[in-house]
Amino acid sequence: MSKVKVLVVDDEKDFATTLAERLNIRGFETTAVFCTEDALALIHARNIPDVVLLDLKMPRMDGMETLKEIKKYNPAIEVIILTGHGAGVPLTGIDRGKHGAFDCVMKPADINELTVKINQAMIKKGNAKI
């Protein structure tokens, strides 16, 4: 069974790489990129992740725009928003249905919670790999 491919997009390099490492330990195949351009480039290069963990506020292109781009390119990619803002309740300001994010997780995120969310996203895709 192939591993679930996760792409972490966050301009905080330390956070992105550490998170990727922790997810890898938990059996995911995780790549970390530090800007939205790199993320989109990767996706366009046919390196399609199953789930993207996307920070909202990043230089040049923010998370919401990136989300739209990803969904435009491939609606099957599930996106979980990772944000330092929002107080642990669903962001009412973001219309998730409209932009297609699967869920939203507050930073600092609990790794187990994150794993559960990724798996739920995979179930939604109808393709649970773990």
Binding site: T18, E21, R22, D55, G63, A87, T92
Partner: protein
């Protein structure tokens, strides 16, 4: 306009100047004083001016009346005298000296004259030597010598003569009218004279006088100023008139004199043409016979009574007005304090959100790194300090977790909350909230009593925020009890526009000092044990309630318990919404 504002500002109070002590008693005392003065002046100046004008208008009307009376009386007496003179002159012209000295003729003439002019006392003819040659009348005056009398001397020169009132030979007051004639045969002049009873003058003057006059009489302007007719004030004819007569002999002179009672009396004097007399009219100040001083007293009383009444009314109005302003100011101050508090909440919210947001990122890194270390430790085999390192890392993780609770709460308070309104049954909402806390209450042996009111109105509000408010309050109630106790939740309709929810615990209660601070940020009493408070729960709850147009209050007594009362409007109106506490969009 600017100038006017400046004036008003000077007269009233410069609000800026008193801003610091807006409701200080001195400000209202000063305001009351100024308002009273301004209103009093505004009322009294027109009153005094009107009174003054009335007084002078009235006086000028009296002067005009007096002048008219004087002119009318002067004309009547002059006409009477001229008429008599003309009759005498006509009688003399139509007859010769011889005809006139005939006693019978003279008696006939006397009788005719007496019929028309009852005041005529007698008639006489005086020859050029001054001897009365003929006489008709009640006295024995035939042959009397008039040569040294003024009457005789003047008339021979000026042709006509009207004399002063005197006693003369007759010993009754009378005056004499004489005309001179000329005998062409003897080339000698003669005098035709008549005596008129002085009381005739009284009658004539009486006819001219109106009820409006106090006194009217004639005075001889030559010599000692003897009265020529009787006067109410100065006595019978030939008494002395005590005042000087005016120099001006033309027209009518009006002056003010004091009468015997020291009242001001208006005096009009008119010299009568061709006579030795001056006509004097006296008028005490008040029209139609009333006393002038009585009029003045009445005027003064009216002004005084009106002024006292007005001052009382102004005083009452001023008090009422200033009282209302004071009430309004106090209300405004309370509102300002409320607004200040709300805006303080907003500022703190923004600051807290900024700080929390900035802290969240490094916190996320620490959390991830410690997590990774723990992962690696789990994967590695045992080594000397493995357990120790794992324990330290757990300590770090716990600390990060505590920070996370704080930052998440701060963000929860400050995050953009688009109030999403929906119809909410508050009883159902309370049941939902309690379902989260059932386990906790059960675990601590706390009985939760739901006392939900019937037929509560459905309210329009934000479900998530209401849940947060009541979760916080019930959670606090459970914490206040600790173990084994009772939390009562009651809901009821407060009035047409609001409902009330009480969360009552029988916990340890609070002192008044603590109650004063419980809604302030970072104030907590949960400073020990594993459930250490952040000091943000009630602060956030308070802000949320305000945001939803509601209000939270608290009653408590130490050892008995606390009651938190939440009042919520059935409908949130736009003006009751507090300003949004956050301005940033969703961040990382």
């Amino acid at each position: 306009m600017k100038k006017e504002r400046g004036w008003i500002k000077r007269v009233f109070i410069d609000i800026d100047e008193y801003h610091e002590t807006m409701t200080s008693p001195e400000r209202y005392r000063r305001f009351r004083r100024t308002l009273f003065l301004v209103m009093t002046t505004t009322f009294l100046v027109p009153l005094i001016m009107t009174t003054w004008l009335s007084y002078y208008e009235y006086r000028s009307m009296m002067l005009t009346n007096l002048r008219w009376n004087a002119e009318s009386a002067k004309r009547t007496i002059e006409t009477f005298l001229t008429e008599l003179q003309t009759v005498l002159a006509y009688t003399a012209d139509g007859r010769t000296f011889e005809e006139l000295v005939d006693q019978e003729n003279l008696k006939n003439i006397y009788h005719h004259l007496k019929l028309n002019y009852p005041g005529v006392v007698d008639l006489g003819i005086i020859d050029h030597d001054g001897i009365q040659q003929a006489y008709a009348g009640p006295f024995d005056l035939l042959g009397k010598d008039y040569s040294d009398r003024e009457c005789f001397k003047v008339v021979t020169v000026s042709k006509t003569y009207i004399g002063r009132v005197e006693m003369g030979y007759r010993k009754v007051p009378h005056f004499c009218i004489a005309v001179s004639g000329f005998n062409s045969d003897t080339s000698q002049s003669w005098v035709f004279r008549t005596s008129i009873d002085a009381t005739t003058l009284d009658k004539y003057i009486g006819k001219t006088g109106t009820g409006a006059l106090s006194d009217i009489f004639l005075v001889a302007w030559k010599g000692e100023r003897q009265l020529q007719s009787s006067s109410r004030y100065y006595g019978p004819p030939l008494s002395i008139y005590p005042f000087d007569l005016p120099e001006n002999r033309h027209g009518i002179t009006i002056s003010e004199e004091l009468n015997v009672r020291d009242d001001v009396v208006l005096t009009a004097v008119a010299y009568l043409e061709g006579t030795p007399w001056a006509l004097v009219l006296l008028k005490e100040g008040y029209l139609y016979g009333k006393d002038w001083s009585f009029f003045k007293a009445r005027l003064f009383f009216i002004v005084l009574a009106t002024t006292v009444l007005a001052l009382l009314v102004i005083f009452q109005i001023t008090n009422l007005f200033v009282g209302r302003i004071r009430e309004a100011d106090e209300k405004r101050e309370t509102m300002l304090a409320e607004i200040e508090h709300t805006s303080k909440l907003a500022s703190i919210g923004r600051l807290a959100a900024g700080v929390a947001h900035e802290i969240n990122n490094p916190l996320a890194i620490i959390s991830a790194k410690t997590g990774l270390v723990m992962d690696l430790l789990d994967l590695s085999e045992d080594f000397k300090y493995k357990e120790k390192i794992a324990s330290e890392i757990r300590g770090t993780s716990d600390a990060v977790e505590r920070c996370k609770v704080i930052t998440h709460r701060l963000l929860g308070f400050a995050r953009r909350m688009d109030v999403s309104l929906e119809s909410i049954n508050i009883n159902n909402l309370m049941r939902e909230v309690l379902s989260f806390l059932d386990q906790e209450a059960l675990y601590r042996g706390i009985h939760v009593d739901l006392n939900l009111g019937d037929s509560l109105p459905v309210i329009e509000s934000d479900r998530g925020q209401l849940q947060q408010i009541f979760l916080n309050l019930v959670n606090n109630a459970i914490d206040a009890i600790g173990k084994d106790g009772k939390v009562t939740i009651t809901t009821k309709k407060r009035d047409k526009n609001s409902i009330q929810v009480d969360v009552i615990d029988n916990g340890r209660g609070m002192t008044p000092e603590i109650m004063n601070h419980i809604f302030e940020p970072f104030f907590t009493t949960k400073d020990s044990g594993e459930k250490k408070g952040t000091g943000l729960g009630l602060f956030i709850t308070y802000g949320l309630a305000k945001k939803l147009g509601g209000h939270i209050s608290v009653r408590s007594s130490v050892g008995v318990g606390s009651t938190f009362t939440v009042i919520l409007p059935t409908k949130i109106t736009l003006s009751r919404r507090a300003p949004d506490v956050e301005s940033e969009g969703p961040g990382r």
